[in-house]
Symmetry: D2
Amino acid sequence: MQKINSEAPVCDLGFSEKHEAIQPEALKIASKSRRRSSAASTCSFSSACFTGSSDEDDISPREKRQCNTKGFTDFCVKNVTNQHAFGRREIEIAEQEMPGILTLRRRAGDDKPLKDANIVGCTHINAQTAVLIETLIKLGASVRWAACNIYSTQGIVEESITGVHRLYHMSKTGKLSVPAINVNDSVTKMKFDNFYSIRESILDSLKRATDVLFGGKQVVVCGYGDVGKGCAKGLRAQGCVVYVTEIDPICALQASMDGFRVVKLNEVIRTMDIVVTATGNKHVVTRDHMDRLKHGCIVCNMGHSNSEIDINSLHSPELAWERVRSQVDHIFWPDGKMMVLLAEGRLVNLSCSTIPSFVVSVTASAQALALIELYNAVPGRYKTDVYLLPKKMDEYVASLHLPTFDAHLTELTDEQAKYLGLNKAGPFKPNYYRY
Amino acid sequence: MQKINSEAPVCDLGFSEKHEAIQPEALKIASKSRRRSSAASTCSFSSACFTGSSDEDDISPREKRQCNTKGFTDFCVKNVTNQHAFGRREIEIAEQEMPGILTLRRRAGDDKPLKDANIVGCTHINAQTAVLIETLIKLGASVRWAACNIYSTQGIVEESITGVHRLYHMSKTGKLSVPAINVNDSVTKMKFDNFYSIRESILDSLKRATDVLFGGKQVVVCGYGDVGKGCAKGLRAQGCVVYVTEIDPICALQASMDGFRVVKLNEVIRTMDIVVTATGNKHVVTRDHMDRLKHGCIVCNMGHSNSEIDINSLHSPELAWERVRSQVDHIFWPDGKMMVLLAEGRLVNLSCSTIPSFVVSVTASAQALALIELYNAVPGRYKTDVYLLPKKMDEYVASLHLPTFDAHLTELTDEQAKYLGLNKAGPFKPNYYRY
Amino acid sequence: MQKINSEAPVCDLGFSEKHEAIQPEALKIASKSRRRSSAASTCSFSSACFTGSSDEDDISPREKRQCNTKGFTDFCVKNVTNQHAFGRREIEIAEQEMPGILTLRRRAGDDKPLKDANIVGCTHINAQTAVLIETLIKLGASVRWAACNIYSTQGIVEESITGVHRLYHMSKTGKLSVPAINVNDSVTKMKFDNFYSIRESILDSLKRATDVLFGGKQVVVCGYGDVGKGCAKGLRAQGCVVYVTEIDPICALQASMDGFRVVKLNEVIRTMDIVVTATGNKHVVTRDHMDRLKHGCIVCNMGHSNSEIDINSLHSPELAWERVRSQVDHIFWPDGKMMVLLAEGRLVNLSCSTIPSFVVSVTASAQALALIELYNAVPGRYKTDVYLLPKKMDEYVASLHLPTFDAHLTELTDEQAKYLGLNKAGPFKPNYYRY
Amino acid sequence: MQKINSEAPVCDLGFSEKHEAIQPEALKIASKSRRRSSAASTCSFSSACFTGSSDEDDISPREKRQCNTKGFTDFCVKNVTNQHAFGRREIEIAEQEMPGILTLRRRAGDDKPLKDANIVGCTHINAQTAVLIETLIKLGASVRWAACNIYSTQGIVEESITGVHRLYHMSKTGKLSVPAINVNDSVTKMKFDNFYSIRESILDSLKRATDVLFGGKQVVVCGYGDVGKGCAKGLRAQGCVVYVTEIDPICALQASMDGFRVVKLNEVIRTMDIVVTATGNKHVVTRDHMDRLKHGCIVCNMGHSNSEIDINSLHSPELAWERVRSQVDHIFWPDGKMMVLLAEGRLVNLSCSTIPSFVVSVTASAQALALIELYNAVPGRYKTDVYLLPKKMDEYVASLHLPTFDAHLTELTDEQAKYLGLNKAGPFKPNYYRY
């Protein structure tokens, strides 16, 4: 996120990277999606069209003038004509599992709270992104979007926390020039994109990659934050014996009370069937650990970046790599011991499974609301700093998704609201509440 | 917590009530314990002795001069001589499950970080309280303690949150005259005294009171905060079908994702076998609800105060109350329908079960550390305001309790600490982290 | 079960012991209840009365002529007059949780399928037993009942399996003189009295006896039959780390697939917080094991008899026993190490908790149906052998208890019944089906 | 299984279909695998080779003479030369998760208990089958194998129970000419191929086919046998709200005690997100039910055959089918309501996921042991009837798989074995034991 010639507020959508501004005076959206992208080239995006990649056309879209159904030509997408129908179908399928963002689109569609806003975004582009973009347009905004180039943005998709770190760093060092909202740490983003989504995707990733039977397997989960909690609980419910490593005594005590043995990795490494990292740290699994793994152990990263497992140490002449299927390598030690490495140490849930559209809907709704908040705030409300998503908006994002579960909220009576000292419409909790 | 002629800092121990100051220039501790007390009379307490109540002696301890083994006479305890051995034994039993506070006593015993501090406290007094008091003494403090009179302090023991509310209110209205630490909202207090403890005590309370078989029973839990989460998960794991009511859409979405149906109470009230309140709110279960309960339904309060269930509405001539055993009333409607009310609507886990000493150890350790922090802080560090327990102390409390579980913490390497931008000794998380 | 001068069929109610026949030509019921009894003396029982024990009267009931409300005098119960109202109230409370046996009473009350049957039983007598007895009477039988004398029948209440063993032994050795039904191994008895009931009572027993906090505790469960499964799953759901020992490879594989580490006791004994036996075997926990326990470890028996833990080896001069509360002994080793022994090694769920009336209702219904079956069978249907409860009756017992859960059975269509080759009314499974 | 000119005993491997005998005087194996097959053509198989299908070669293998590495030519496999290396690699991968069958191969390899036996089998052929076949050869047998032709054997792979039904039918009608062992109902087959495997594959199947987020979804599972139990428990652990339908009151009571609401399908059909059938019955989900589904509901079959869902009723002009991806159809009602049908109503776990090799190892070991038992039994031991796998062999199969989990069995002492009346080597349970 670099300073440009603008003072437009910034909404950090929970995943960001360095990008070049395309349009001054814009609401900037710097985002690096956690989603698997079907788009692969760096190009800009505009309303009313979307496309996946195509191998059929050898001409670069940069060199070819195209025109969408509205006569619009200022975009750079491969094979719009051929892929349009497929893309629209994919968007429609995604919409079915994105009730929150669609409800927001419907409710706020008449008010046009983003009227005249110019929004520029940079993420991986897929059908779920398109649902967000079309919503922003429906709310009144003009939108341009740039895809992340997978070649120029190595260790990419997983850096959801990195953008936030950078914003706070810019804020501290005085380089932030506009107000920003940290969507990444909203409750709905954290709990749903992390715990609830991970509880499912850890299983899905391992199954799709290896067909392993979980029952009875011994697993160590490194880290017991929201992601580690999701991994540990998901795997135990399928019959795994799960151990946890932690550096933080509070999380370690939680793991203990949740019934997991808290160990150091080197204490258990010899007997594990599966090793999962979920720390956000680097070199959590070292070459020394891997030298001591038992034959056939599966090693994967659910945490952050591609540095939790020291992959470089495995690119060593005495070890033989064998690609047995996409995203799955067997690495052989000289004595015949074999380790199963998934996704070359990158995030396995991004490489080997999918992010459910419903989870993206939660995040996208928070993004859209953060944009609305920044764009409509009275002058001076937000200073040049990084803000958490207001509690009330976090609650609103949640409420948008309750009808999916046919969940019925109870309303406070006047007497109860007075007793609790709360507004009947919320917010209902202090900011430090931990859920 | 009222102003006295002092400016000593206040550590709110997570449960407080109005009390009269006994000793000027003291560190004041206003506390109302969540524990079942074996002491029943209002009296003061001093080091080296402790007693339970006794029915054997008709003379009020106020009118009788007693002397403890150290020749100390300025106390008011019934039958010190007779009960001393029993009390000491109870303290020893409690100590076995209070590893954290004992470790703190041992580690800080030489430093005497509370040297010359005068501490006065007011809580229910039982063996667990004695362990805290004896620890404070060991750390250098002079301590006097007053028990809560169970007659003068009706709806008492559960007001753990009330004290905090009052402190914040005093702070806002300028009535707070000393710095205070809100221990109630420390992570260790919240997660352990609430979620982990409740997950067990909801079962214990219902079983001891009613011998009900949980399997297959339909239960509605009103409120899905930490207490509600503990109730809902504990009961489901025993085979109950659990429904949840909520006013907060974020908690409601959590309940949905955890696999509970979120309903309004009136939608399910007719078919429930057990109704549990855990809201902190008032009149969550109304007479109208109770009129529609099915025969034999058990109703109890795990939340706060005694007002979650509208008990007053049940003291009505058309309803017949029958006390079937301690803490259990059968209330009959004119048509023969019967409802089982536990603890007359007061907190059932305090009335019908016990708080494990281990959980009290967590809370007591946080209390002692908060006192040490306030007493040793450099002047000006704490202003006249209400503070959360510093994250590092919260982590220290947790670390004191890990050896109980033979849990082994991993230490950051220098490289990792630098990568994460953390001190190797913690704190490890930002303040807004939700665990 | 000994031969008497009769050839009446025998229904083994799932718990039996040697008894003297009181009345010839009777349907004999030899039973030793798993329930905590409130009756304590050996005496006979007849219709229309029931009593608990009393300490108020020093005259033995054997020496005192009493008369019940119907003018009946041939019974031996302490203080019928004083205790009658209390007993009736206890029966009414028990009835509320015994829907199956009451439904059976109502449905078969007009048919009187036990008309003119003389039934004599011998069990511990409590309110739940009374509900069974009154049902048998309502179905037409004349009933006399003898209580087990707690002094003459040491290691008593738990011998539920013993009676069955003896019946099969009598059958093999030709000593069985009448047909018998083994109710103990009916599905409804096994799964409900064992797994589902135990899953709850293991928690209840440990909590009431010790107030232990389960979260994070390390537990070894010896044996993974239905009782061990109930213990292991109940404890894990409360946050315990559970290990299992087994002799049977099938059960061991089940434990593994359920996520429990299968170990030998001596491999883990040093680090356990709780040891639970559930094997039906003897000397599973030896003195050698106990010498190596860690300080404060709780040891209890959920299995069978009082011999699973080698208690005799603890009555040794170098060990000091201290009774700290009812059913709880602290045993001290010379080095100060202490072990917590519950119920002196007898069944802790009988000593320290209760058997829910609902579970007794399941068993009692099976008993009553077995009696009806034997009494009404066409001559020659049952030979002098031990039979399992007919599958259809097992299913009927289950169906009697479904309304409690508002459970709605689906009925086969004619087409479906034909397709499956089943009668629409059941039985629905082959005899070897394992549920 | 039809009579041929032989009296060789038959081992029904748990899945059978009509087949033509290829070789007289053979041990016949009639089997229809539950595994996804990579082989597609009807052909015979011999030792030392294996192949998958290939699209590269247009010449039918029937018309082409091939020769394997041993000079053997009497087989009919497409592209042996090209596919050999791939096939061998797949076999090696499968072997890593098939510890039991490999251990059996190693232990019994010297004894050659199947020496001179001629075995002919008929199943789908894949790498897992090859591991079984190569084991049989190692144990001394001569083996020929025929693949199931997917065109000639409609409603195929799922008929695991059908073969057993047919055997019992043949036995009753006097058409069975040789002894047979019913492997399908062995404990290890039932519990592992059904409950433990299904608990995982229900999640895997649904995820791979639809990417659905499980958390908060409402699901009805039709049937609560082992398969239904696996589905219900697996889905609940991922946050689904699960309802159960049942025809059998015992299973219904189990579902209730396990915390599931037991309902009739038509009571809940309007609000379900996912419908799973697991009954073994036909037309469990009717057109009438499907007319009332809510938009987007996923419907799939985990039970038996392809008739649990009345698919024929959906081939109707007013409904529009759209194939959205392999195994996934969207079916549209005239009002726009859409239902997601998986695998056209066939077994979704076979069509959309894989059977873990470990589970196949359990079943294959039981098959091999059954063959050994029949082949080596003293004359007259087995009459012309259908037998269950002897308990001791069932236990042996389990013991072969314990080392995978580093599970350590406890051995009975002499004293304990005597006390229990058991042989120290087993069997440990009566035949009616339900596990």
